[in-house]
Point group: none
Chain length 185, copies 4
């Protein structure tokens, strides 16, 4: 792992554990076992570091979630794949998950970052729109539908992490059905 990634991992961990302002650069540097100055070699400021971690986490998650799927899948099945991947990603990467949760809508993430991140998730909007057209999904605003799906995922991941419950395929199906029931027609 290169120095930049080590710094980001250390920052991610400490910011989640201690909060953004109780994770000073000096502590992040110590955790990453790099000199303080090195952090500033790679990132102009703490704000830029945080935004970069945020965007990277979002991009990493979207790459996992939206990795290739068989073509011409029924909408429900495509949604199920994305949903399962998202939940698994959250459960497997709790730090990254909580980091995103903690900073979404916070004033520390720039509008530009938010904008860039949104682009990574266009596929969901497309699928939702298609679902509305085919009559499988409720004809609500897609932003709202997306919000419903996304908060559902957040709630489930938080629950799974808090209860330390194992996520077996049967449970996955049950829980995805909760989500699908929310938006299905």
């Amino acid at each position: 792992m290169v120095k930049k990634e080590i710094i980001e991992q250390a920052a991610l961990k400490l910011i989640v554990e201690r909060g953004l302002y109780d994770a000073p650069i000096s502590l992040i540097a110590k955790e990453a076992q790099v000199p303080v100055g090195s952090v500033y070699t790679y990132y102009e400021s703490k704000e830029i570091l945080v935004n970069e971690i945020y965007r990277n986490a979002k991009r990493d998650m979207s790459q996992h979630v939206f990795a290739s799927v068989p073509p011409d899948l029924p909408i429900k099945e495509e949604m199920a794949i994305y949903w399962v991947r998202a939940v698994r990603y959250g459960v497997s990467n709790p730090n990254a998950f909580y980091f995103m949760e903690q900073l979404t809508n916070s004033p520390h993430i720039s509008p530009l970052s938010q904008e860039q991140v949104r682009g990574e998730f266009v596929r969901v909007f497309q699928v939702l729109e298609k679902g509305i057209e085919t009559g499988e999904i409720k004809p609500l605003n897609v932003d709202l539908l997306h919000q419903l799906v996304y908060t559902n995922i957040i709630g489930i991941v938080k629950y799974l992490l808090a209860s330390k419950m194992e996520l077996d395929p049967t449970l996955e199906v049950h829980l995805f059905n909760c989500c699908w029931d929310t938006i299905k027609c």
Copy 2:
């Protein structure tokens, strides 16, 4: 409004707008138009101030949500009443809503505060359990069901606040049905 409430409102507003650490006591005092020292007349520390605002917001919300309902209502209707009240509360009190969202699960809210707050929401758990018994609600863990309902409300309130959409009774019914579909058998 007494001085204590003015301080809490000012703190609530600034913490939501700027984040906890970009809302220094000096700024809160200026916003509330009280001297810095006065904040410490009412609150021993910033941490205690934040916890008190959090608990008050949660209590206020729960009192709105769980105000009296007609007896012997069907479960779905009782849930609907609570759900509608919660969403309306969030839409009408965006600062309080975002404050709670921002600080839930944060290290700045003491376990004791979390504990006290949880007690205010027992009624949902009771209704959910009853729903499971009557076969109307999916036989999942009630903590999980609660999480699903709660994140659904959060998603909807966030969407309504972001889109500045009016919340008319028709929309309420549609949106509650999304929530109910999530958990209904």
Copy 3:
């Protein structure tokens, strides 16, 4: 005991135990079980309170030490009486003793207080001068002789308080002889 004395006793105790600046007026008032404002009814400021305690302690000690003695005593015996009274006073009033020790020569005692206090101890200077004339005491500067006697007393009281040793008449004689040997011709 009147309110003023209660306040002074509380202040004396706390200042000795915690240091002048870790004994805030609010704490002194609490210890004395009087309202904060009452302290300012009797003393214009903390500084004035401290100076008054200092002068009172010194006056009280000098009144004990220089209470009447049989007339025409030999110098050594008169010194012995004063010495014993001083040591006993220190051992019996450790708080007052440490208070005086802590604040002598401190910038918190005004020159005026120092001046007034000095007047209470003229008798020692007279006896020392007489002793020099009769050839019983070393012909050194009386301020120096006084300093020698005084620091000797301080050393002994501190030792007795620290070691919690009882001060019986035999020990008193031995220890006074140490002091007398210091200045005798």
Copy 4:
């Protein structure tokens, strides 16, 4: 002189002149002509700074006092050497001397510092014990004897500093004899 020493000298001077709590770090930094933050580069806290100055002053004094002496000196002569060195040290380093005086037995010096400091002065205790064995010194507790000698030195240095009197060899002999008479058999 390196920056650390400059800070210590500035702190020493201001604390003696104004008292510990009227010598804020900001003033110490100004006196030392360093930024406030630099003080914290060298000392974790004001308390640690004060303890370090205290230990350094005590160590410095003990190194002067207990520098090598000719072997096999008679006890009185060895005591005389230490006594003279101590008095000269006090007269030549009034700030350090008053600093130690002001903080000995204060709650601001940690027990650990006191402990470390005590070890620097073992030689006096050894000499006093030897003197008791040879019958030259009164058979009193060595802590008490030490206290008597030490307070004698303090009294004399204070007197010399206050009276601005020169300390010539003849006076030294006279004054040491006062001290010796106090403890000799």
